[in-house]
Symmetry: C3
């Protein structure tokens, strides 16, 4: 039984790439295309979710991610409530459940959940009532599926055939929920090769089960790739002695135009943002012609509108049944 899919096969919750079919991912990308032109209209909103109530339930602060979901919801004409709960106050399962039960009783239609614990979004989805949808906006080290899908959307706009793609994901693979979701989405969409590039201390131990090729040398990892995805480096990795200094990291794993020269001549460069300039990449790459970083941000709104509207369509079809 798949929590994310309703009995008609539609997307009901969006919690992780794991458990979804290639068809659902392609549906999300195609629905995203239909929303990508909304901001070019003079009235940049559609009435699809008018009268629906969406709660941004953030147990982990993120102005950036919250903003994209809030904008996506408003452009769908939904009413949005932002609720920030410090995990110190509500980290226990029981009080999280009470919070959910209370908001449900207010007839909320959708929760967008961000939480520092892996599995939190699944926990919420398992416990909400049938008429409520849950979107995972990042849970611990587990998944960040809307980020992965906006990345797939951005890739597809530049490189329409996933079957031909070589993709390198560079950085802190071990701790990155973004990387986990990207790897699953790329494999599901049939990418020819997914590589991960990191120092040994930031590589997961069981690499084979992930379906990736691992590299500790950036130059080797980038050779002939069509897409380079740089991950954001969390500063606490340095403090935890998993890494030497920022400077040394940049020397070995920071992206420069020179290092990029071994990639395919048409390769694009991606980053989930915000970029630590001079750590993950230098500004010439970040602002250069191959960077699609700002397109990722734009596409993030379209993809979030897509999954929100698809989840609500699932609810509507269940109501009819």
């Amino acid at each position: 039984m798949n929590l994310q899919i309703d009995k008609s096969g539609r997307l009901k919750h969006f919690l992780s790439i794991d458990g979804l079919s290639e068809q659902i991912l392609t549906d999300i990308l195609n629905t995203g295309e239909s929303f990508a032109s909304v901001p070019e209209q003079s009235v940049k909103k559609v009435p699809l979710l008018r009268g629906k109530t969406i709660v941004n339930l953030f147990f982990e602060a993120s102005t950036r991610t919250r903003t994209t979901f809030e904008l996506a919801a408003k452009r769908l004409s939904a009413d949005v409530l932002n609720i920030n709960i410090s995990t110190s106050a509500a980290v226990k399962g029981e009080s999280l459940l009470d919070t959910l039960r209370n908001l449900e009783a207010m007839h909320v239609d959708m929760f967008v959940v961000r939480h520092c614990n892996s599995g939190a979004a699944h926990f919420v989805a398992r416990h909400v009532q049938p008429h409520v949808s849950v979107i995972n906006a990042g849970d611990g080290r587990h998944a960040h599926p809307t980020q992965a899908m906006l990345d797939m959307f951005t890739i597809r706009r530049h490189k329409p055939d996933f079957k031909k793609l070589r993709v390198a994901i560079v950085g802190d693979i071990l701790h990155s929920r973004v990387a986990r979701s990207q790897i699953m989405a790329l494999n599901l969409l049939g990418a020819a090769e997914v590589r991960v590039v990191a120092p040994l201390s930031l590589l997961p131990t069981r690499l084979d089960s992930l379906g990736v090729h691992a590299y500790t040398n950036l130059q080797e990892g980038l050779r002939n790739v069509d897409v380079v995805i740089m991950l954001r480096l969390q500063k606490e990795r340095m403090q935890n002695a998993l890494l030497p200094s920022e400077h040394e990291y940049f020397q070995q794993y920071g992206l420069t135009e020179q290092k990029l020269s071994v990639a395919h001549p048409d390769a694009i460069v991606m980053h989930p943002g915000p970029i630590n300039r001079g750590v993950e990449m230098d500004s010439r790459v970040a602002d250069g012609p191959r960077s699609v970083v700002l397109q990722q941000v734009s596409h993030g709104i379209a993809i979030r509108m897509a999954v929100m509207s698809m989840a609500m369509r699932s609810q509507a079809s269940e109501d009819e049944a």
Copy 2:
């Protein structure tokens, strides 16, 4: 002269149960009924307050209560501004007045006021201009009238005839604005008997003027009642030496299925939330078949929509006059 009622006898401000007639309370309950079905519509909002500006003016933090008022206002299609002011910055009467005058000058239609000082909502209502309504969202130990009315609404849905009701309110009666408002509403609506149950240190001294029977023994207080209302216990009561430990409190005043067995077999259990599980009641009662705690939350939206729309109707009729 009654501050809360306009010259046509309509509700203009909603500050306390005190001073209102049984007819007005019944009007609020009936108007609440008309809004209770709004969340079942596919577009769960009505255009009644479109273009009106409502300010949530919270001098005491409460995400929970603020959320219910914000949702109620949005479902009435009003524009909502949330303004949180720490009382340290604005506790003086003069600067509160300046804050009010400024917001009035921005053509605000309604203030929802929460304040740690008893009487704050009345103060605001006495000083606002004629075209502005004030809703009390809790002032000190004085009143929390929307909470009391959502409780009456919940009771009436289960027990339509107040004249036959025996109700027990259990917990910190002395410090509870919720209890004060509930007692007044129950007496005004003609409840057969209102009991309060608490340790002596948490009972008010002048009980006769309240129109209640007092009990210090929970079992005696619960005998044959139709409604049990558990109050939330503020942790600082323990620190203030008014109470022994949480554990001992639960032993004597915490609600369990066994203790509940002396109540009427159809008795319902209420709590304003959030519940301290294992202090005011155990989870089997909180989540059990007699608990209507989550219905209270749902009804809170309907009742807040009711008082907001009634207050605005008063303004509209005064404009015509």
Copy 3:
């Protein structure tokens, strides 16, 4: 080349009074008049900016100013996002640029910027994409042009002919972005005389270039003026030893009815708020018949609606071209 004006001569950004023509200022005032009656309608909003996204980008906390812009935007039917960024996190030019680029990529139409650094709004306007407008909501000691224009609007409603006006601005001229913008607006609109009144320590050194007459004596400065504008005194001036005590300041520069008696009998008294009662003026003046302080607040909404709608009209006309 004037950053604020598009190639058809329309207002595109509103950054400072400096660089604008008398005609543009008069257009703003006249457009403000058309919005001043919106709050008297039963539905107090207009659909002019429906589907537009406005971001309040506040690097300096100000509930008051943020509220007026949020209300103005909502009454124009725009979607509003409030983003507060502590300058400690984002003070560097590079990360400010990254923040801008990201929000632009979300298809934001307008930034309302408040920042503690002079020139921040110009910086933003120089770097945004062509389809984005910028409104300065106060930058360092430089400018606060919407405040100045709501003041001009308030003056014109009482004294329609600027050519005949004598205006005194009293208080901390040296550090006040409000005063700088007021002086420029008054001179551009042709005021007969602009005076500044302050202790020497709070007067700028190059007064002649400002087009004002300076006074250190309040009584002399107020003689025969038609408009008295009191500035807010920042408490830190006292701590910085630029001023003796609040009490002594009030003795010399605080406005009382008695001191006001030398002004023109019809003189009006203004203050940008919030007033430090007993420091800049006593309550009898603040609440007296000559005070137009609350009218300033009301007009603030109309003027902000005016500049927002004018900037958006500039964008629309550029799209057509």
